[in-house]
Subunit: 156 residues, 2 copies
């Protein structure tokens, strides 16, 4: 059932909101789906999502699972209802920010380790100019990663 008064506006809001959510590395569909669920408030079934977004049920299944993995959406139980019901979690800022920042921390930390590993790879018996320049650049790149990591840890 559609509300013919709010429907056009609702869908504009949904799309605009979704654009911001995409910046948190959600796919366009995941972003629109979250926006839809958030605006809906009431938990929705895969079929409802499918109809609302005009995409297949399969797409809904995979997308909503992604959102669930990111803890952005929750599976809700309602007695008498057989279908899975999903609901958007509500504390937007905390939710998106913290997972995003953690993602940065993990990535930079992991990458830094890999680069430190390579540091030991550089043949230290070869003290050519190229060699020492490369070493110098590598140090700077590792520093960059350290800066990123501590930056994100700080604002966490």
């Amino acid at each position: 059932m559609l509300d013919y008064h709010t429907e056009p506006t609702r869908s504009k809001i949904m799309n605009e909101f979704a654009k911001t959510l995409e910046m948190f590395d959600l796919t366009p569909l995941e972003a629109r789906l979250f926006a839809y669920l958030y605006l809906a408030e009431k938990p929705k079934t895969l079929d409802e999502m499918s109809e609302a977004l005009g995409k297949s049920k399969t797409s809904m299944s995979t997308s909503v699972r992604s959102l669930s993995d990111l803890n952005l959406v929750t599976l809700v139980w309602k007695k008498g209802v057989r279908k899975d019901l999903y609901q958007a979690n509500s504390q937007l800022f905390k939710l998106f920010m913290s997972s995003y920042i953690n993602k940065w921390i993990d990535a930079t930390n992991h990458r830094k380790d890999a680069l430190l590993e390579m540091d030991t790879l550089i043949d230290s018996s070869d003290d050519s100019e190229d060699q020492s320049k490369l070493n110098d650049q590598l140090t700077k790149i590792i520093d960059f990663h350290s800066q990123l990591e501590s930056f994100f840890r700080r604002i966490k």
Copy 2:
């Protein structure tokens, strides 16, 4: 001319570094290109980039232009050399962070304006339940954008 000692390591570093740079919304090629130029230190021509990355000159042209637009790379003049020479800018953290943060600020601010616009669209003569709920959610979404914007302004 290749340095056969440093070449394999150099390329491993390049690819690892590039993965981090992709997080700043660079395409894989842009990221690898920047990493290449950064490690090279010496300014490089489109042909050199093309050979080093194994991609067409056209790709180099468009990618290096993108990097240049983002102010990550600079066109350098050298007397006697006809070809364009590009060099990676060197202050990694400042460079990437500030453009990234500005991007967030611009996007969230712009998006917030669009949403405020929609606020006025909601038919206030219709005071149905759906109406007021939608309004409530919209307010929260706008708040979310304000929080994002001020967050990024603060850490700038």
